[in-house]
């Protein structure tokens, strides 16, 4: 067994002239929840598909469960589970028919199929009759079933590509509970998401932009590193903040001012924090807040586009 679940070195994937993934390097430890965060088209899906053996690297190398692409990626495919961002179950087949087709693809014996579906339906808490057509299931249940089909062969590494897009908030919470349960059992989960609250639950986050890895760390470290200086939140409470904002922007102790909903987030030098805090006009509130992942995302990913 290799120490790392996934090891990626200078991985590059091109489609014609377009470079979707550009010299990506990282390693994922066993039992980790590893998140990919980035805008649409940042290369998250391409990276995941390559690691599942659905795409071939143009340059660089990747070892997944210690395996590469020498045999067309078949050995690798046997060790990982993949849940695409597209719904990959058959709408016009029943729950059972879908599971038994997934088992057939992996050449599982009928006994293994019976045992695993029993376990997995209990794991995802499936209550719908097993002869229900999948098209009649609710969105969240469909996603849980797709997860069950993806881990039917009990893979050690699981790749989830936006598993909760278009699913209700309650179903999202349920789904993440399942993900945590899996890693507690020693599975490695690599997941892409658009939701910041989901990214918070990852052990480490890889931030991607235009195919490149621009940051990789735990959520706490990312916040710490991106915002070493204090972050303040200005709430104008219905007043016009423009004059004050202009004063702030001219203040050499202020590093950055970003609109944040109806409020503003202000980054200041530690030495100027007190002075800035006390300069707030009457009727507005300015207070120190811990940075959120969204602040990090805005600063690192979107910030560079401006």
């Amino acid at each position: 067994m290799s120490p790392a679940a996934v090891e990626v070195m200078e991985l590059t994937v091109r489609f014609g002239d377009f470079t979707a993934v550009d010299r990506l390097s990282f390693a994922v430890e066993r039992g980790e929840i590893f998140g990919f965060l980035g805008a649409n088209g940042a290369g998250k899906t391409t990276a995941i598909r390559t690691l599942c053996g659905l795409l071939r690297p143009t340059h660089g190398s990747a070892r997944v469960a210690g395996l590469g692409y020498e045999d067309g990626g078949r050995a690798l495919k046997g060790r990982v589970g993949y849940m695409s961002q597209r719904f990959t179950l058959y709408d016009d087949l029943t729950v059972d028919e879908n599971m038994s087709f997934a088992a057939g693809l992996r050449k599982l014996s009928p006994e293994v199929l019976a045992r695993r579906t029993e376990e997995l339906f209990e794991f995802i808490g499936l209550t719908a009759p097993r002869n229900t057509l999948v098209r009649h299931l609710a969105g969240g249940i469909k996603q849980e079933l797709a997860l069950a089909a993806a881990i039917l062969h009990d893979p050690e590494i699981l790749f989830l590509d936006e598993p909760t897009s278009g699913v209700s908030p309650v179903a999202r919470i349920r789904f993440w509970k399942l993900i945590r349960n899996l890693t507690e059992k020693g599975k490695t989960v690599i997941v892409t998401t658009h939701y910041m609250d989901e990214a918070e639950q990852c052990g480490r986050i890889a931030l991607m932009r235009s195919g490149r890895l621009i940051a990789l760390d735990s959520p706490a470290e990312l916040k710490e590193r991106t915002f070493p200086e204090p972050l303040l939140e200005l709430d104008a409470q219905g007043r016009d903040p423009d004059d004050f904002l202009n004063t702030l922007r001219r203040n050499p102790g202020v590093i950055d001012v970003q609109p944040y909903g109806s409020r503003h987030h202000v980054t200041v030098r530690s030495s100027s924090e007190e002075a800035v805090l006390s300069s707030v006009p009457a009727g507005m509130s300015l207070r120190r807040i811990p940075p959120s992942l969204e602040d990090v995302f805005l600063r690192l990913v979107e910030g560079k586009d401006r």
């Binding site: 659905l54 795409l55 071939r56 067309g72 690798l76 695409s84 087709f101 693809l105 992996r106 050449k107």
Partner: protein, 362 residues
């Protein structure tokens, strides 16, 4: 391997038989097509509208006219005025026969009788048939009571003695339907997987290319054979098409043909990006294949350059096989040579689709 193939067979059968659109294609379409070709469409042309222009006092002309209308071939149209052209132009008659003004009785006596036939050839088939009927009737009329000449033709019609066109057409239609159904089903099913994203689940499993191709082929060969049996039953029970050859010859020929068309369907799906393109691709193949198969028009009459293309058409070989087995009892040379050609084609299309098929998404 058995497990994967099994899973594909179960899955495709469930999906195909559950889908109302597919049920229509599989079961209703064949019946409608066969009914159309078996009952409604017929290459025999009967009840042509004919007007005969003659002097009412002309006895020979009257007798000749009676001969025309005594068979089922011509319908009587009363000549109006004295302009046969107008009658044909207006469409009230398909043909007009004009007896010489001096009268048939007199010109026959001079042994110089020339009658004029005016034909509406805007439908060339109809015109040709009308002409041949008229000349046949005139020939028998001329012989009349006189002793027969030195030659006499004794015609024996084999395999389809009443020369019914349905006996000839229905086997053609059977092969056409089988071709259409198997190609559409196979190519659409493959592109549906790609369109819906379910293809990603298949290629994320550790399978060899041939395992996936076999999985997407074998179920449709089975479905095609099911349809074969259905079409054969309908053809023989509803349209009185005889089955003179052994059943195994029929099933073997159908099997080899279905394998060929299913692999063509796979090939079409490797070229198309979605279901619409697959559907269009299937029709682009099936239409010319039908026209150049000999189902309606004999291949031998086509220009040389086109014949080359016609000989690449699997449908041509299957139509030959089906007619030979059903109507003539299945001559061994016809059977094995045509099956051999179909097998070669199946191997070629399989090799081509194998080369075009990729498990990766790049």
């Amino acid at each position: 391997m058995n497990r994967t193939l099994n899973a594909f067979i179960k899955k495709e059968l469930a999906q195909t038989l559950r889908d109302p659109r597919m049920r229509v294609i599989l079961f209703v379409l064949p019946m409608v097509q066969m009914t159309l070709f078996g009952f409604a469409i017929s290459t025999e042309i009967k009840r042509l509208k004919l007007a005969v222009f003659h002097d009412p006092g002309d006895r020979a002309a009257r007798q000749l006219t009676e001969r025309f209308y005594s068979a089922d071939w011509f319908l009587r149209v009363e000549p109006e005025g004295d302009d046969p052209l107008r009658l044909v132009r207006s469409g009230r008659a398909d043909a007009a026969l004009v007896i010489p003004a001096e009268g048939l009785t007199r010109s026959l006596a001079r042994r110089e009788a020339t009658v004029q036939l005016i034909l509406d050839a805007s439908n060339a088939t109809k015109a040709r048939v009308a002409e041949s009927y008229v000349s046949k009737i005139l020939a028998t009329a001329r012989r009349g009571p006189e002793p027969p000449g030195p030659f006499q033709l004794d015609v024996r019609v084999l395999y389809n003695p009443t020369m019914e066109s349905s006996v000839f057409l229905v086997p053609g239609v059977m092969s056409m339907i089988l071709c259409l159904v198997t190609i559409i089903l196979t190519s659409m099913s493959m592109s549906k997987e790609k369109e819906r994203g379910t293809f990603e689940m298949i290629i994320s499993a550790p399978l060899e290319n041939w395992e996936i191709l076999l999985g997407k082929t074998v179920p449709f060969v089975l479905i095609g054979m099911l349809d074969t049996v259905l079409i054969l039953l309908a053809g023989t029970l509803l349209f009185d098409v005889p089955v003179r050859g052994e059943l195994w010859k029929l099933l073997l020929a159908a099997f080899v043909f279905v394998v060929t068309t299913v692999t063509i369907g796979i090939l079409i799906s490797t070229i198309s990006k979605n279901q619409q393109q697959s559907m269009l691709g299937s029709f682009l193949f099936v239409f010319p294949a039908t026209l150049m198969s000999g189902i309606m028009f004999p291949v031998e009459n086509m220009p040389k350059t086109i014949i080359v293309v016609a000989y690449l058409n699997p449908l041509k070989y299957f139509v030959t096989l089906l007619r030979n087995i059903l109507l003539k009892g299945g001559d061994p040379w016809v059977l094995w040579s045509n099956i051999g050609v179909l097998l070669l084609m199946a191997v070629a299309t399989t090799a081509l689709s194998f080369r075009r098929f990729h498990q990766t998404l790049n």
